[in-house]
Symmetry: C2
Subunit: 230 residues, 2 copies
Amino acid sequence: MSTTQGARARARIEVTAAIKDEARRQLAAEGASKLSLRAVARELGMVSSALYRYFPSRDDLLTALIIDAYDSLGEAAEAAHSGVVDAGPLRRWVAVCEAVRGWALGHPHEYALIYGSPVPGYVAPETTVESAARVALLLIGTARDAYRDGSLTEPPLAAGLRVEGERMVADFADDLPPAVAVALVSAWAELYGLVSFELFGQFRRVVEERDVFFREAVRRLALGVGLADV
Amino acid sequence: MSTTQGARARARIEVTAAIKDEARRQLAAEGASKLSLRAVARELGMVSSALYRYFPSRDDLLTALIIDAYDSLGEAAEAAHSGVVDAGPLRRWVAVCEAVRGWALGHPHEYALIYGSPVPGYVAPETTVESAARVALLLIGTARDAYRDGSLTEPPLAAGLRVEGERMVADFADDLPPAVAVALVSAWAELYGLVSFELFGQFRRVVEERDVFFREAVRRLALGVGLADV
DNA sequence: GTCTATAACGAGATAGAC
DNA sequence: GTCTATCTCGTTATAGAC
C-alpha cells in the first residue's frame, strides 16, 4: 500500500518535472507569452486535458516556472556565498553578484522570465516572493555583517528618505541603519541593471571586457552601500 | 502634379501612422511576441496583404516601433535637458534621468519593448542604434561639460579596465578620461536597472517613496561618475 | 507607379462532438 | 482520449482600380 502510494507520488513528481522541462524549452523558443499548455502536452505525447491534473491553468505552470527560476538563481548565489563565507563582506558581496551574473548568462530565458518584461495578463501571486528574496537576503546579510563588525561606513542619507529608510529597516533590514537600507535597495536594482543590459544586448559594441567590467561595477556598488575595501 | 504627389505622400504617412498606432495598442495588450500583422490589418479594416506596402514584414514593423520608442524617449530626455541647459552638469544629469523614468512610467509597454526581454526570433538591425544612443549621448554630454569646466572629479579606475576604458573613449566618449567613460557606462546601465525594477514590479513592498528614492539614486550615480555636488 | 483586394500556401492553434 | 472542422498566422502571387 505505502509502496503503491510511493510509486504514484514518484510518478507524479517525474511527470511534473517533465512538464516543466518541456515548458522551459518552449519558453526559450517562443517566449513566456506564447507558452501553451496544449503544445507542452503534444510534445510530451499527452493529451492537453491530462496536464490539468498537474497544473490547474497556464498561469499556475508559469508561476511554477518562475518560482523554480528564483530558486535556481537563489541556490547558485547561496552556493557562491558558501564558498567564501570566511572572506570579508565585500568579497562575499562580489561573489554573490558574480553568481547572479553567471546564472543569468547560463539561463537567459529563465532570467528574462523573472527579471524581464512582465507577461501580459499574468500577475505573479504572493507565493513567489519567498524565492524571489533569496539573493536580496544574501546582499543584506553582507551589509549586516559589516555593520556588526564595525567595518561598515554609513553612506549619507537624503533628508527626504529618512522615513522611507526607517520603514525599509523595519520591513526587511532589521538592525541596519536606514541609510544602509536605502543604499542596499538602490545597489540591488543597479546590479540587475548591469546584468540585464549585458544579457539583453545593450552592451553590444559598448562593453567588451565584460567579466572585469562587471566585477569592478559591483565592487563600486558595494562601496556605495558602505562595505569596506579590504 | 506636385499636389497629387503631396496628397499621396500624406496619405501614405497617415496610413503608416495608423498601422503603428494600432500595433502599439496590440503591443500593450498582448506583448511584442504576439504582435500580428493580420490582427492589425483586421482592426484597421484593411486586408493583411495591403500592409506589406508599408512594412515588408512583421519584423520591419517591429523595428519601426522600436525606433519610434527610442526616439520618443530620446525626445523626452532632450526636452528635459533643454529645460535646464543653464544648470550645472549634476542637475542636468538628474533631469535627464528623471525624464527617462517619467517617459517609462508613461509608456510602459514601449519601454518593455526596448529595454525588456528580447523578442524571441527577432534581432534588431543596425538601424536602431542611432535612436537608441540619444539618452546616452546626453549623459555623456553632462560629463564632458563637467570635465571641460574643471568640476569633474575623475573616479578611480581598476588596472584591468584601462585598455577597455581607452577603447570606450575612442569609440564614443571622445575627450573624456577612460575612468569616466567606464563609470559612465556602469551608471547608464544602473539607471535602467532602477527604472526597470520600478516598472516591472520589483519595488512592490520594497520602495514606496519612489520619486525621492529615484532622484537620490541617480544623484549618487552622477557622483560616481565624478560630477560635482553643487 | 501606387495602392488594395482576392486567393492561396503551409503551418499551427482551438473548440467541441464523439 | 481521439478526431475533425474551423480558426489563426506570415507570406506570396496575381489581378485590377486609381
